[in-house]
C-alpha cells in the first residue's frame, strides 16, 4: 500500500486524538471487537532457548487457537530485561505487542538499577496474569536436615562457617529475610544458574539454597534435593504438602514471582479487557493448570486493575527488599 503525504497529514489529527484523549468509546469498542485482526507479537526478555523462552513459546502456541492469529515470539534479551521492557513501553499501544514476562522481576529492576529506563507501572499495563510461583528453600537430599528448625539449629552451630547459595535477586531477598528472622549469619555464595549449585550442595559446601521452582521441583523429583518450604505466604495448590516458610516461623515472608501479559500503558481499555478475556481461556484451562503444576506454580487469573495494583505494590516492596538483601543499585 502506498501512503501519500496528503493521507499522512490528514491522519495526524486522528492519531493525536487517539494518543492524547483516548479513542472515543464507540470507536475503541469496535476496534476491540475486531481485535486481533492481524499477527500478534509476544516479546520475550530472555534469549531463545532459555527456560523463560520455553514458557513464552508454550503460551504463544496455546494462545494461537484462541486469538485465531499467528503469534510471533520475538526475543529481545539483555540488560536484565530492560531492553525488552523499553521496547514494549515504546511500542504502538494497539494490543499487537504483548510482553510476556514477570512483573515481579520488573518491579525488582526498578530498584536494582540507579536509573531504570522505564517507570514500569506508569508505562506498562498488565492485561492478564498468568501464574504465581514461589522460590523454594532446599537442602541436599543426603542431608540429615528434615525441617526448618533442624536447619536453623545446624546454621546456628556452624555460625559464620555456614554457607548458602543464591541464584537471582528474588532468591537473595528470600534468603536474607530467612537469615534475619533467625538472627543467623551464614555466608552467601552467588551462582549464575541453579544447576551450578548442585555439586557444591552435594559436597556439603552449601548448607542450603534458595532455588527457583523449576529447578527445585525437578531435582526433588529426581531425588537430589529436599524442599523445606516455599517463599509465598500460603502454600501452593500445586504442592499442597509443602509448607510455607511463613508457617514455619519466617513470619510474613511473602516474595512470590508472578508472570503476566503486559501492553503499553496507552492501549485502549476495551482491547486490554479483550486480551484479559482471551488469556483467561488459556490460563483457566485444566491443561495449563497441569503444565504449571509441573513447574511448581499455580495458575492465577485476575482483572487488569487488580493485577496493576499488585504490580505497584511489588515495586514499593522491592525498595525495602534490596535494602534487606544489601544489594547495591547499579547504573
Amino acid at each position: 500500500m502506498k501512503i501519500t503525504r496528503r493521507e499522512l497529514v490528514a491522519g495526524i489529527p486522528a492519531l493525536a486524538a487517539a494518543n492524547g484523549l483516548g479513542l472515543s468509546p464507540v470507536f475503541a469498542q469496535e476496534a476491540a471487537d475486531a481485535y486481533p485482526s492481524r499477527e500478534v507479537k509476544f516479546i520475550c526478555a530472555f534469549p531463545a532457548g532459555s527456560g523463560a523462552d520455553v514458557y513464552v513459546r508454550y503460551f504463544a502456541e496455546r494462545m494461537r487457537p484462541v486469538m485465531k492469529r499467528t503469534i510471533v515470539v520475538e526475543n529481545r534479551a539483555g540488560a536484565n530485561g530492560n531492553i525488552a521492557t523499553t521496547y514494549t513501553a515504546r511500542a504502538k499501544p494497539d494490543g499487537y505487542t504483548v510482553y510476556v514476562h514477570a512483573p515481579s522481576a520488573l518491579a525488582a529492576n526498578m530498584h536494582l538499577f540507579k536509573n531504570p529506563p522505564v517507570d514500569v507501572v506508569k508505562e506498562l499495563q498488565v492485561a492478564a496474569t498468568i501464574n504465581r510461583q514461589p522460590f523454594m528453600l532446599t537442602v541436599h537430599a543426603d542431608s540429615p536436615v528434615k525441617t526448618i528448625n533442624e536447619l536453623v539449629e545446624v546454621l546456628r552451630k556452624k555460625g559464620d562457617k555456614a554457607s548458602y547459595g543464591t541464584t537471582a535477586p528474588t532468591s537473595k531477598v528470600a534468603a536474607a529475610w530467612f537469615n534475619k528472622v533467625f538472627g543467623i549469619k551464614p555466608v552467601e555464595i552467588a551462582y549464575k544458574t541453579a544447576g551450578d549449585t548442585m555439586n557444591d550442595m552435594k559436597s556439603g559446601a552449601l548448607d542450603y539454597c534458595m532455588h527457583d521452582p523449576v529447578h527445585a521441583v525437578a531435582q526433588s523429583n529426581n531425588g537430589a534435593l529436599r524442599m523445606l518450604g516455599v517463599t509465598t505466604k500460603g502454600r501452593m495448590k500445586a504442592l499442597p504438602n509443602l509448607p510455607s516458610l511463613h508457617e514455619q516461623g519466617v513470619t510474613d515472608l511473602d516474595v512470590p514471582g508472578w508472570w503476566a501479559a503486559m501492553v503499553p500503558k496507552d492501549t485502549p481499555k476495551p482491547i486490554v479487557d479483550k486480551l484479559n478475556k482471551l488469556w483467561r481461556e488459556v490460563i483457566d484451562s485444566e491443561e495449563t493448570r497441569q503444565f504449571m503444576a509441573k513447574f511448581g506454580a499455580d495458575t492465577w487469573s485476575a482483572s487488569p486493575e487488580e493485577a496493576q495494583a499488585e504490580f505497584a505494590k511489588d515495586v514499593r516492596a522491592w525498595g525495602d527488599y534490596i535494602k534487606l538483601a544489601n544489594i547495591e543499585p547499579q547504573g
Binding site: 515470539v73 555464595i189 531435582q219
Partner: protein
Amino acid sequence: MDFNVFSNLMTGFVAAGTFQNIGFAMLGCMVGTLIGVLPGIGPIPTLAMLLPITFGLDPLSSLIMMAGIYYGAQYGGSTTSILVNMPGESSSVVTCIDGHQMARRGRAGSALAIAALGSFFAGCVGTIFIAGFGPPLASFAQKFNSPDYFSLMVLGLVTAVILAQGSVLKAVTVIIIGLLFGLVGTDVNSGATRYTFGISSLWDGIDFLPMVIGMFGLVEIIRNLEQESIERNPISTKLRDLWPNRQELKEASPSVLRGTALGSLLGILPGGGAVLAAFAAYTVEKKVVRNPSFAFGKGAIQGVAGPEAANNAAAQTSFIPLLTLGLPSNPIMAIMMGAMMIQGIQPGSAVMTSNPDLFWGLVASMWIGNLMLVIINLPLIGMWVKLLQVPYRLLYPAIIMFCCIGVYSSNSEPSQLLIMVFFAAFGYILMRFGCEPAPMVLGFILGPLMEENLRRSMVLSRGDPMIFMQRPISATLLALTACVVLLIVLPSFRKTREVAFQE
C-alpha cells in the same frame, strides 16, 4: 559395562527404528546441516523456534528430531569453518585453523570427508559411552566442585599458549585480551556492571556469535580482498580428488582416536565441554604428532581430524548430565530439557527406569543420526566444494549478508551488528600484528567461568587459597598445569617449538 547394555540398546533400536522416528532423525539432520552451513544461524534459535512444533509429536520423535538438529549443526558448522573460515559455533573455531588452510591448498574435499568420517567414528564411540558408562561418568562429574573447575580452566588456558603459532609472548597477550573481553557485563557476585560504559546492550556481556563472525569470517574476507590477484587452486570436483588419499587417511586415523577419547571425557563436564574438548584435542595433536606432512597451521590434517572427532564425541556425551542428573550442560541441552518437561517427562535418573524406551531410543537414535549425517553429507561434499568456485564478488556479499542476518536474528538487536564490526576491525589489527585469534576466543569463553569459580572457591574457603591444593582433583590439575608451564619455559623445549614453526 555389563551385558544388559546390549539388550537395552536393542530396546532402543526397536524404539528408534520405526519408520516415523527414522524420518524425524533424517529431517533433524537435514535441517541441522542446513543451519550449520549458513554462517551465523546457529542451532539454539532454530531449536527454540521449532520447539512448539514438537508439542504435538510423541516425546521420542520430538527428542530425536531435536538431537538430529544439534549434531547436524555441529557437522554443518565444520563445513563453513573449512570452506570459508567461518566457525558457526564455539566448538568449530579450531577447525578453521588447519581446515581452511587445507581448503586453500585445494584439499577442501578431503578435509570435509575426514571431518565427516572422524565425527561419525566419534559419534559411534560416544553412543556406546553413554550406553555403557553414563551413570558412573555422571557421578564422577558431580565430584567437580568450584576449585576443581577453576584448576581445569587454568590448565585449559595455559595449554592454549601451545595452540598459537609464533611467539609465546603474543599468545599470552591475546589470551589476556580474551579474558578481559570476557569480563564485560554484570558481575554475578556483586551485580556490578563492568566495562559497559553505560551501554545497556553490554550488560549481559559480549555475545559469542558477533565476536567470532567478526574475528574469523569478516577478517578472512578482508584479507582476501587485500591480495590483489588471488591465486586460486584449480578445484577439481572429481570424486577421486575429493576423497582423502591413503597418506591422509593414515595420518588422520590416530588423531581421530585421540580426539574421540578426549572428547568423550570432557563432554560430560558442564560448561564449555565441547569447546574445551576441541581446543584440547588440537593441543594434544600438536604435541604428539612428530612429522606431519604439513605443519600445524598450514593445513595439517591431524588438526582437523582430532578436534572434529573431539567435538562430536563431546556433543554426544554432553547428553549424559541431562539424561542421568537432569542438569543441562549447555543451552542446547537446556532446550532439550524444556522439551522433555513440556512432554511431561522429568529429566534425570528416573528417565532410565520410568521411560526406558525413551532413554534407550534416544541413545540409539544418536547412532542412527550420525550414520545419516555421513550418508547425507558425503555425496554433498562435491557440492560444497563447488561453492568455492563461485566468484568472490558474489560469494563474499552473500556471506556478509548471511552473517548479518544470523547475528541480528539472535536477539533482534542492531547493536550486535556494531559489535560484529568492532571485532572485525579488532581481528584485522591482530592479524596485522601476526597474532592468532583462536587463543583469544578460548580466553574469552573460559575467562568468565574461571573467574566465577575462583571467586566462589575463595568465598567458600573464606579466603584461604590452600583450597586449590587440598582437593585432589584440583591439585592434580594444577600439577599438570605446572608441567605445561615448565615445558613452555624450558629453553630446550622452546627451541624445538620454534624450529617446528619454521618449517
